[in-house]
Symmetry: C2
Subunit: 464 residues, 2 copies
């Protein structure tokens, strides 16, 4: 699949990274002489962060090229994404050129945060709104607005990129999310202007409180819970009248003077000026990876999107089997500047899960009331692993003896370096009695067959 990215700023670069790391070829068009450097920096950030979300390998990265003209970039693209500056006359002229050059089957998406599709297409060019959120390579949300057939074609492609298409059924200026951002921005400008709070205090008021709720539940489900047993109606009866209170007095628009801009820029420098934008970006991405990995555990919101996407990633079948793959996120490292000892075992444990699936001890089997419990793990640490490095877990069956199963996991880097050997001894159990019991014969047969071939494979390895 091929994508053309027209306009390679923060948003266009983020789109390029999202496509590339999901295996698409990407052509970028941007007149800025600095474009290549900037895109490369965004890509470096994305390579550092995105794969760390998954417990499996993403497809091999696509090819990136910088196109010389728009027609060349769009000629054979399946998706063309316009991310040029937010001025309607520029959008009109670029979208007309794209429409003329694009295959009829291509999705033409605009990253506009404000314009409605009826405005974008007023001059006849074909396009829908496909509005993403920064950083595009980590945040799943894309607001799709416009012609139904094109939106319907776009949605499954976005899902293949691990994104969450939200079809906005009725066009409105700024779509949905940015309406909220605008309302909050307006209020924040007043608070700073009136000296009620600084930019740093406002950020704390958000991230120490409701920001933590919104990352997982959004607005209405949060309030549903706040209403307690009495429910949503009770909550609304309590909070609704506040609309009439003086809280709403700041609704008019503050004058956007140079003074106000200086006040805010100065407070922001005092708050965050000790870090470069790149450092802030990396901190943001590390936090996003950590938050998203936390949400995977419950399947809430964006965590569920990642798990679904991961299930769609095809794992090549080899034997001895690769039972887990992982790019090491920064949050897995410790004070020694390398991957903490715990996560070697985390990967091996995931390898055990993968191997259990191969002998039929999968999720359905566990749901039926049987499983394996681990009796003992021995981890031999052979090489340091750093953030951003990839590890593959190859699992060898070493023992099939009644209720007992022995596994050896080798954690290997792409260059063949074995970073750790993990020996695991497991026992087959009934989840009802929590006691050991023999596995069914078909499972035992499969395990014994693996032990036969894997013992030989391990012997061959040790002879090398």
């Amino acid at each position: 699949m091929k994508a053309a990215i027209i306009g390679g700023g923060v948003i266009g670069g983020g789109w390029a990274a999202r496509f590339l790391l999901n295996g698409w070829d990407v052509a970028i068009l941007d007149p800025d002489p600095e474009a290549e450097r900037k895109i490369t920096e965004v890509l470096d950030n994305a390579r550092r962060a995105l794969p760390g979300l998954y417990d499996a390998a993403l497809p091999p990265e696509g090819r990136l090229r910088f196109a010389d003209d728009l027609a060349q970039a769009c000629a054979d693209a399946d998706w063309i994404q316009e991310s040029v500056p937010e001025r309607l006359e520029i959008k009109h002229s670029v979208l007309a050129e794209i429409d003329a050059a694009a295959p009829a089957s291509a999705v033409i998406g605009s990253s506009t945060s404000g314009f409605k599709p009826s405005e974008l297409t007023a001059k006849g060019a074909r396009a829908i709104v496909a509005h993403p959120f920064n950083p595009v390579y980590l945040l799943p949300l894309v607001e799709l607005v416009g012609e139904a057939a094109q939106c319907a074609r776009a949605a499954p492609l976005l899902q293949q990129l691990g994104m969450y298409p939200l079809h906005v059924r009725k066009e409105i200026d700024a779509h949905i999310a940015d309406r909220f951002l605008e309302a909050v921005w307006r209020e924040a400008l007043w608070l700073v202007k009136d000296g009620v709070a600084t930019t740093a205090e406002i950020d704390e008021a958000i991230r120490m409180g409701f920001g933590l709720r919104w990352a997982q539940m959004g607005l209405f489900e949060t309030y549903r819970v706040a209403g307690g047993e009495a429910g949503m109606k009770h909550f609304m009866a309590q909070f609704g009248p506040a609309l009439e209170w003086p809280w709403t007095k700041l609704m008019d628009v503050p004058e956007f003077t140079e003074e106000l801009v200086d006040l805010i820029a100065g407070q922001s420098d005092a708050q965050s000026g000790h870090m470069s934008i790149r450092e802030l970006e990396r901190l943001r991405d590390d936090n996003l990876v950590g938050i998203l990995r936390a949400l995977r555990r419950t399947g809430s919101g964006a965590g569920g999107v990642i798990t679904d996407h991961e299930a769609s990633l095809s794992v090549p079948v080899v034997d001895p089997p690769v039972t887990a793959q992982q790019q090491v996120p920064v949050t897995w490292t410790d004070y020694n500047g390398h991957m903490n000892e715990t996560h070697y075992l985390e990967l091996a444990s995931r390898g055990t899960d993968g191997f259990m699936g191969l002998i039929g001890a999968d999720a359905a089997y566990v749901a039926s009331g049987m499983s394996y419990f681990t009796l003992e793990n021995t981890v031999r640490y052979l090489a340091e692993v750093h953030a951003g490095e990839s590890l593959a877990v190859t699992t060898y069956a070493t023992l099939a003896e009644g209720k007992k199963m022995g596994l050896r996991h080798l954690l290997t880097k792409p260059d063949g370096t074995v970073a750790a050997e993990v020996d695991s001894l497991l026992i087959h159990v009934s989840l009802e009695t929590r006691r050991s019991c023999p596995p069914p014969t078909d499972m035992m047969d499969r395990l014994e067959a693996f032990v036969a071939t894997h013992t030989k494979a391990l012997a061959a390895l040790s002879e090398r």
Copy 2:
């Protein structure tokens, strides 16, 4: 320390839990005959979630009693928190009673989300605004507004509770955070009323996108990053003019009709009605614990508050040393319904860190360029551990031989059950060369002394 909680709803109950789990005695006054049941449920949730944030034990829980009258509840309290319904005449009469009964040194805080301190104290009663966020036992933010001396007394007490006091310097209706919530609420009511989006779509628009940013950075730092290399001024030049665009057209207040209430309550039922409020609360809390534990890794926002609070928790000195303590969070469990094998090692690894501190290989030593790396870990799993159970790690030194250090960690439940034995073999290294080297003699002396006493202690254990 003693707290009196006047009004035991969702917010008052959350305050009670926050105080109790941090070792304060708490007296609750609430006329609702159901109050005791409701408070107990909030407390159960808090006991399940809050301790899981920390890598250390919280102090022993304080005593809870239900008071018969206000004077009895307040008589010997250090902090009195009013959380009665949001009507000014009720607040006035309750605060007057509290003021009459309270010791002069007590902090009198009001949980009001809307009233200014000048309004609360208009009838002469002493009080400040101490406005928390739901769930109070997990979210750190407390907005402090009002008389400076009382706010200054309140702030360090809140920090001892693991909370983040934000001193609002200029009083304003609804303080800071709720102004934003109100602006977003207003916008959301329009979007639902006009049929642009359902409550579920609005929640996705938030939690799939900017909600993930706000949990860690808030508003201004996020935009600073979005501005890219050109900085905050560039961002504002881009986004500022949007204030004049049609985006702001929904600023007037939607009429709060019964129809609108029914529309929203109905959509909310369709979205979340398959889960009870208690289930939603537990899901919310599991997600919050996961997100907050992720933020601990970088120290951002609320993660930093937890780390700071943890550092202030005193660990009793015993030998053999208890090097780590943990209540098991739900996010540590797996498909077998018990703590995943990985986290046994995570606790032992933290035990190794704790023991290293005892022989002088602490953070400052690591910063000086020396450390220990693990060569091998063997984990013997002896008992299942479930979410909510507590584990203490006792660490025995078993080997001091040149560069090598051997440790045995016993992971023990409060009833004495040993859940796992972990043997760790470590080697002293230079962080510059990444190669082994001998530890300094004073460190070696301390390690050898531990080995001498711990070998005897282990032998005594095995004789039992």
